[in-house]
Structures are given as structure tokens and as C-alpha cells.
């Protein structure tokens, strides 16, 4: 088995929790498959020397401000080695901004398996493009299964096993399982990436998004369900668990035309929002359910409470 690479997004000075969840799954895989586990991150250093046509330079012994704490955290989360790609381009979760720096890491390591946290900011832009670049299969929202011989299974039921040929990119869903932290010194390699945000893309402006534009997960509450305070409270807990907003139907005209393309749509009661662009649709109550992936029958309150207990027990 070659190397396993995990992309680490940063949330301020710390690793993104979803990236750490991917690192935890990668640790289990690397131990089971006998692979070396690399954690790679991209850091913006204004004025760092680089040129558009240069190849990456390896800086041995280089120190990046703030890297000690990251090194400690990634080591404890299971990384064998850390690769830091330094770029003079501001880091945005966009292939056009950091694709060049990420490509430097891929070229340096030539990994067989690359993991991203499914909810990490860069995953949706970098994950599939990484797959296309290394010619690998792409697994969406996978999790680790199995005992001693760990394998990955994605939401479509596809498996990735140790003996599989070819490269793969996996977006790991869920959160990190609790595991004992390690305390080891690990190597840090610093790569100075060639300059180069994609000049064809220019960020003109940004503004806060409406809840209806949420693309991760949404919990939609129908008017009937919203009449029960216990259901409203449990819906809020469920939304917190999946990291999405609660959309409440108002009965207005806009509701009748609302559509969601969030990856996960959980409809509680008679919701008006149409989840037709969502990858996974769950219905709780609300009458006959068509084109859904999962459905729990009424009464809503006990079904929702039992679902929450089952989810929290898995966490």
C-alpha cells in the first residue's frame, strides 16, 4: 500500500473539525492497510518567493509561524507526516484559488488514496477535481466499516477495500470517532508552491446566504409539525446535529415554489419545500412519501425523539 493523504482545511488557526474526522478515518485505514498517513494543508504567506512557471521548492528545516500548534494537533489526531504547501495566493476554498498549491502536494506525494472531510469548506471544489487529476474513483460521504480490516462504504453503498486497484478520492462524512490521542514527533515538509490563482476567476463580492441556499443539510418543518413545541425543540436539536438551518413553512406563496438542493433534506410533517435537488431525502410523518431515501411514519413526536436518540447514540 502506498500513501494516504488527507487534505486539512483550516478554521482560523486550527484544523477544521470535518478534516479531523477524515484524518481519524484515514488513521484507521493506514493502520489497517499498512500505509503512511500524510496530512497536508495550504497556508498563505504574502510575499513568499515563487514564480508562475516554477515547480515546487522543498524547504527543509523551514518554520512557518503557528505551525507548532498545528503539528501537535495533527500528530495527536494520527498523522504520520505533515506537508505544508505555502502559497502567495490568498486561500479560498476554491480550485481556482488553491488548486495550483494542492497540485504541488499531489505531485510531491503521488498518493493512492486522498481523503477530505465532506463538510470541510474545500471538499466540494477540491475533492472531485483531485479525483479527475489522479484518475481515481470518487466516494461521497463514506465512513469506515469493518473490524481489523477497515474498509470504506459510501452513501450509495459502494465499497473501497485494501485490495482494490487504482486511486480513489473519498469525502468522509460524519464526525471523528473518539480515539486515544498519540504523542509523537513527526516530520514536517514545507513546499513552496508556484504562484497562481486562476486569472479567469475574480471574486467580485460576497454576502450572507439565505437559509434556503444551504447546500449541506436542512431540516424543514411543516405547519402541522410546528404546532407541537416538543417537535419544534427536537427539530432544532436535529438541525444542530446535522449542522443546517430549520426552514419553517409559513404557508405563503413563496413556500409553494421553494426547492432545496441541500445534500440532506429532512422534512418533518407537511413541508412545502420541495427537496427535488437533494441527494438524500428523509421524511418524518407528512403522509405518503415518494422518491425518498428514508421515511418514518406518524406520530411525528415519538418518531423524531427516537431518531434523535439513535443518532446521538451513534455519535
Amino acid at each position: 500500500m502506498g500513501s494516504i493523504l488527507v487534505h486539512i482545511d483550516l478554521d482560523g488557526p486550527r484544523p477544521d473539525p470535518s478534516s479531523l474526522a477524515a484524518l481519524a478515518v484515514a488513521r484507521a485505514l493506514a493502520s489497517s492497510w499498512g500505509a503512511t498517513l500524510y496530512a497536508a494543508l495550504i497556508i498563505h504567506e504574502p510575499g513568499e518567493r515563487s514564480a508562475p512557471d516554477s515547480t515546487a521548492q522543498v524547504m527543509t528545516g523551514a518554520r512557518i509561524p503557528g505551525i507548532d500548534r498545528l503539528e501537535d494537533e495533527l500528530s495527536r489526531a494520527g498523522a504520520d507526516k505533515i506537508v505544508v504547501a505555502v502559497t502567495d495566493t490568498p486561500v479560498l476554498p476554491l480550485w481556482g484559488a488553491i488548486g495550483g498549491a494542492w497540485q504541488t502536494v499531489l505531485d510531491h506525494l503521488r498518493p493512492r488514496l486522498v481523503l477530505f472531510g465532506a463538510d470541510a469548506p474545500s471538499a466540494i471544489e477540491l475533492g472531485p477535481r483531485t479525483g479527475a487529476r489522479i484518475g481515481g474513483r470518487v466516494f461521497m460521504r463514506a465512513r469506515a466499516t469493518g473490524g481489523d480490516l477497515v474498509q470504506l462504504r459510501d452513501r450509495e453503498g459502494a465499497f473501497l477495500r485494501v485490495g482494490d486497484s487504482g486511486a480513489a478520492v473519498v469525502l468522509v462524512g460524519g464526525r471523528a470517532p473518539a480515539r486515544p490521542a498519540r504523542d509523537e514527533d513527526i516530520d514536517v515538509v514545507v513546499l513552496v508552491a508556484p504562484s497562481g490563482a486562476d486569472p479567469r476567476l475574480e471574486l467580485a463580492s460576497s454576502a450572507p446566504a439565505e437559509p434556503a441556499h444551504a447546500l449541506g443539510a436542512v431540516v424543514a418543518l411543516g405547519e402541522d409539525a410546528a404546532a407541537d413545541p416538543a417537535v419544534v425543540a427536537d427539530a432544532a436539536r436535529l438541525a444542530e446535529l446535522v449542522g443546517g438551518p430549520v426552514l419553517r413553512s409559513t404557508g405563503g406563496r413563496a413556500d409553494k415554489h421553494a426547492a432545496s438542493s441541500a445534500q440532506l433534506f429532512i422534512g418533518i410533517g407537511e413541508t412545502k419545500v420541495e427537496p427535488s435537488g437533494s441527494s438524500s431525502v428523509i421524511r418524518i410523518g407528512g403522509g405518503p412519501a415518494r422518491y425518498v431515501d428514508g421515511a418514518l411514519a406518524e406520530p411525528i413526536a415519538p418518531a423524531l425523539a427516537e431518531l434523535l436518540r439513535a443518532l446521538e447514540a451513534r455519535s
Binding site: D119, P121, A132, L203, A209, V242, G243, H257, S276
Partner: protein
């Protein structure tokens, strides 16, 4: 700027409103008439051609029984887009979950700029103004030159639509006409997804949701 729009290789999972929304967005981009590219079985080609015709978008249909991965379909899209000299390729990424990976594959093979999760799009001269949803933000980009843009734009709600008829307006091409070899493409073949029955027990539904649990969610301490 010449626009093509990839509608995919299979009928939308749940509704055609995202297909309609993507076609309407393409039609507004102009200045020349955009071209929809669609592949797969004949029933799907005729549905896609019918919706494209209603949106005033030209259509290229590639009939094939192949079931390919994202890199395989990307090769077909690129070959078809070259026939119309498209510089901007839009992708309806909301109608089927596997579609958004095709945005990346097309962009990678073309070495084009890539933008995913775009919720509105407009043209300003030779610049495309695209707004994408990212986390809690709507980011607006100016896009110049060759680009592949994944759209998540819903059309009007539609309860049912007329049965599509074979369309004379659809330009039919086969893989050989695109310079592609089906035997070579078959290296990217995948087994089609079997339809699945909905899960109806608490444990099974919790399993489905568990891969969406946020890594940021507080732990309850439940065993």
C-alpha cells in the same frame, strides 16, 4: 462566448425542474443560441430535447447504452462541446447526485476554470457573472475565458409534463462521429446504481443521516 450545457446521462432522480432551471439560465446567457448536450437511452434523450426546445436551446443527443463514471462522461461532453466550439460549459448538477463530480472532470480535462454550486448566472459582455453558495455565503465571481460551471438553479414547480415526442430538432450523434471509441470508453464503465427501497426503521434512517452529522455538533455524552 459560446455556451453548451451538459444535461447528463440519465433522467433526473426526482423532478425536471432543475433541468428546466438550468436550461433557462443557459438560454439567457447568449449571445448565440446555446446547445444542450445529453447522452443515454432514447427516452431520456427525447425528454431532454423536448425541454431544451421549450427553453429555446439547441440539442445534441448521443444515444449510448454505456454506463460510465464521471471521467467517462466528461470525455463525451468535451467531444460534443468541441463540435459547437463551446467556451463555457454549464452543468445541471442538481438533478442527479453523481453529476457534480462531472463538473470537475470536464474542467480538468479541458484545463478550464471551475465553479460549482452556482445559484444564479448572468452575462455582462464577455464576462459571466456567477453567484455560488459556499458555506454561509453567496460569493459572486466574474468568469472570463474557458470555464465549466455547475448550476443549482430550480425552474418553476411542475406537477406533470407532456409526454415528449421524438424531436426532429435534436441533432443525433454517435460516439464514432465524435471521434470516440466505445471500447476505450468502456474502461470507465461502472455498474448502474440499482434503485433502492426507502428505509423505514429508526435504525436504518439514523444510519442514512449519520454520515451527515456535523463534525462541529456538540457531543451529548450518550453511550
Amino acid at each position: 462566448m459560446t455556451v453548451a450545457i451538459w444535461l447528463g446521462s440519465a433522467v433526473p432522480v426526482r423532478t425536471i425542474r432543475w433541468l428546466d432551471g438550468a436550461l433557462a439560465a443557459a438560454a439567457k446567457l447568449g449571445p448565440t443560441k446555446p446547445t444542450a448536450i445529453v447522452a443515454g437511452d432514447l427516452g431520456w434523450l427525447e425528454l431532454a430535447a423536448d425541454r431544451a426546445l421549450r427553453a429555446k436551446v439547441a440539442c445534441i443527443g448521443i444515444a449510448t447504452e454505456l454506463s460510465l463514471d464521471y471521467l467517462g462522461w466528461a470525455q463525451i461532453v468535451i467531444a460534443a462541446a468541441k463540435t459547437v466550439e463551446a467556451t463555457t460549459i454549464l452543468v445541471d448538477e442538481a438533478s442527479r447526485p453523481e453529476r457534480f463530480a462531472e463538473v470537475a472532470a470536464i474542467a480538468e480535462l479541458l484545463d478550464a476554470a471551475q465553479l460549482t454550486n452556482v445559484v444564479s448566472i448572468a452575462r455582462e459582455g464577455e464576462v459571466v457573472r456567477a453567484t455560488r453558495s459556499a458555506g454561509g455565503e453567496l460569493q459572486t465571481f466574474h468568469v472570463r475565458g474557458e470555464a465549466v460551471i455547475g448550476l443549482r438553479i430550480a425552474g418553476p414547480k411542475i406537477e406533470e409534463y407532456p409526454t415528449p415526442m421524438p424531436s426532429a430538432a435534436m441533432k443525433r450523434l454517435d460516439l464514432a462521429a465524435l471521434g470516440l471509441d466505445a471500447n476505450v470508453l468502456a474502461h470507465r464503465a461502472v455498474a448502474p446504481h440499482a434503485p433502492r427501497e426507502p428505509q423505514r426503521t429508526t435504525d436504518r434512517v439514523a444510519d442514512l443521516i449519520s454520515v451527515h452529522v456535523s463534525a462541529r455538533a456538540p457531543r451529548t455524552g450518550a453511550a
